[in-house]
Symmetry: C2
């Protein structure tokens, strides 16, 4: 995984182009699926995806970066299958992802997503919960109605994955309620794997299933997505502290102000260093001034949290690549998946 | 459907015995399925089912009357199938039903169910939403992992049904927000069919599918469950006004105090009678004294809402029986299903 900066830039261009193509291919199918939802639910769904405003006026918004559907289609192609045949699986994974976003925003009481008020903030908790439920049902119906021979197995994998996502979200809520001295890095890693890694793994596994891969390759592809997902989460957590505001829209230090027990923070808190104690003290306070936030970021860095997260992300990427080489022995066939994994884990470097 | 009181009592005994047997057969499978959920989610699920108290102490509670699993198993038997082979479908339908209860209680802010505080009231909204999500995923996993040839089709039907349940719940919320002069009986009937009829229909359809019935019989069985479900809802709405407190635990007039736009109420409100105007005036007020609640019940009765609901319930049962005769030409084979339908729709007579 050693790359020159030119290689990296080329990989990034490749990933960006791939994500654009995926969005263009998936969006019409995603919209067609959402159109089958009952009227009042459809309205909330279309708002959530950024396709219309709260009053029903069409909006130009696009629904996220399409990383999960891109993984589904790229995985199908990587194992020698026809990505077009995996389109329903790509749409189903995107619907399942957005179902979790709708419910997570209710659960976390988050009021902003993709620079707009969240669905529950606009339509109320009932409509957001119901729309999430319907969106997940729709995801499963797409799979179960699909005549493709992989569809029953895929529906089973997606259902199992959602149970794991629920466990991850539940663990996350539990961690947030605990004191800074009362969390371990292992449980945070397990939570991140369940909450983020599981669905990226499922996306890759479903693509492999639809591409006709055997169970061993499907499992390896799941491992690739999971490890890449954890690398992604580590990078996302670094951005949550040191930001990259121009590209992400997230303010610097946002996760610290929110007292979030992100992975670099917990690595720092559990480091046994003097900086760990400083950080814990800041976490027990309000931490709402820019000075305090800077002190906390500094303490995470001095406690080794930043270096640990960067090394852990690199390690997870190496594991991802190892899984991928077992799923897809031909490096040329694995190119798109690698580019996507590089893309999602290089955003701050 | 003309029965003597002796016939009715025998049918009721038969149904009670059948529900007991179903509960005994389904409970171990249901518990085994719930045991597979991740720890913190499992705890909420076990509380919801009445198997343990909030602190984890085992409790003797049983999870409802098992009407839906009984319909699944009876439908499988009625079409000549082996009910034991349909056990997963019975458990899946019961899980899906309980998923909707968990979310509906959050949405409606109901604090009591089965004489205990609701899950969200004990564990908070996040845990109740997450546990509902996981329970529905588990229902679908049971079906998709089932090697039975009917399982993919059954999973598709259950997913589609849940979208309809969501539409029904959403419509219900919308109706409650509107004034007493601003609802039609047709939209209330459509809401009740979606919210209550759809899952009873799905239970019967899944039983028929697992019993090896053809698509025509599956559809007729779905129609039987839907119409019986609507009859059930009409009776339930009558109980919500005139009660049967000893048997149901619901106080007389509970739905009126809550300003619920139940079917007899809406039939009365839309009757064009002088009593309709009286009722609308009461619905625009607080209606929190026993005298006002009695006046409202009286107005529903004088406006014809009570008679209409009883006649409509009988009509829906007749339609149910007609569907059943198309699904199962042999009346002897249909006996259990008829007994269940009679049972759920005779609770006030």
């Amino acid at each position: 995984m050693t790359m020159t900066s030119t290689d990296a830039a080329m990989e990034e261009d490749k990933a960006v182009a791939l994500l654009e193509r995926t969005r263009d291919a998936v969006d019409p199918q995603l919209r067609a699926a959402v159109e089958t939802l009952p009227g009042a639910i459809r309205r909330v769904a279309k708002y959530h995806f950024g396709w219309q405003d709260a009053d029903g006026t069409p909006a130009a918004g696009r629904a996220g970066k399409a990383i999960r559907p891109a993984l589904v289609l790229a995985a199908a192609r990587a194992v020698g299958g026809d990505p077009d045949a995996a389109m329903r699986a790509a749409v189903a994974v995107e619907l399942a992802h957005n179902f979790t976003l709708l419910h997570d925003d209710v659960i976390d009481e988050d009021t902003t997503r993709r620079h707009r008020p969240t669905a529950w903030a606009v339509f109320g908790v009932p409509d957001a919960v119901i729309t999430g439920d319907a969106m997940f049902s729709l995801a499963l119906r797409l799979l179960t109605d699909d005549p493709h021979p992989a569809s029953p197995h895929a529906a089973g994998r997606l259902s199992t994955c959602v149970i794991e996502l629920c466990a991850g979200q539940q663990a996350d809520c539990g961690l947030e309620d605990r004191g800074p001295d009362d969390v371990t890095l292992d449980e945070c890693l397990a939570m991140a794997m369940a909450k983020t890694g599981a669905l990226l793994g499922c996306a890759c596994a479903l693509g492999a299933l639809y591409g006709g891969a055997d169970e061993r390759a499907v499992r390896a592809m799941d491992g690739f997505g999971r490890e890449a997902g954890l690398a992604f989460q580590l990078i996302d957590d670094l951005i949550g502290i040191w930001g990259d505001t121009a590209r992400t829209g997230k303010p610097v230090g946002a996760d610290l102000t929110a007292h979030k027990k992100s992975l670099p923070v917990v690595a720092a808190l559990t480091s046994g260093t003097p900086a760990a104690a400083e950080l814990a003290a800041l976490y027990r306070g309000a931490m709402n001034t820019p000075g305090e936030v800077r002190s906390a970021a500094d303490a995470v860095e001095r406690a080794g949290g930043r270096d640990w997260a960067q090394a852990a992300a690199a390690d997870r990427m190496a594991r991802a690549v190892h899984h991928l080489s077992r799923a897809v022995p031909d490096p040329a066939a694995a190119g798109d998946l690698l580019a996507l994994a590089e893309f999602v884990t290089r955003r701050t470097y």
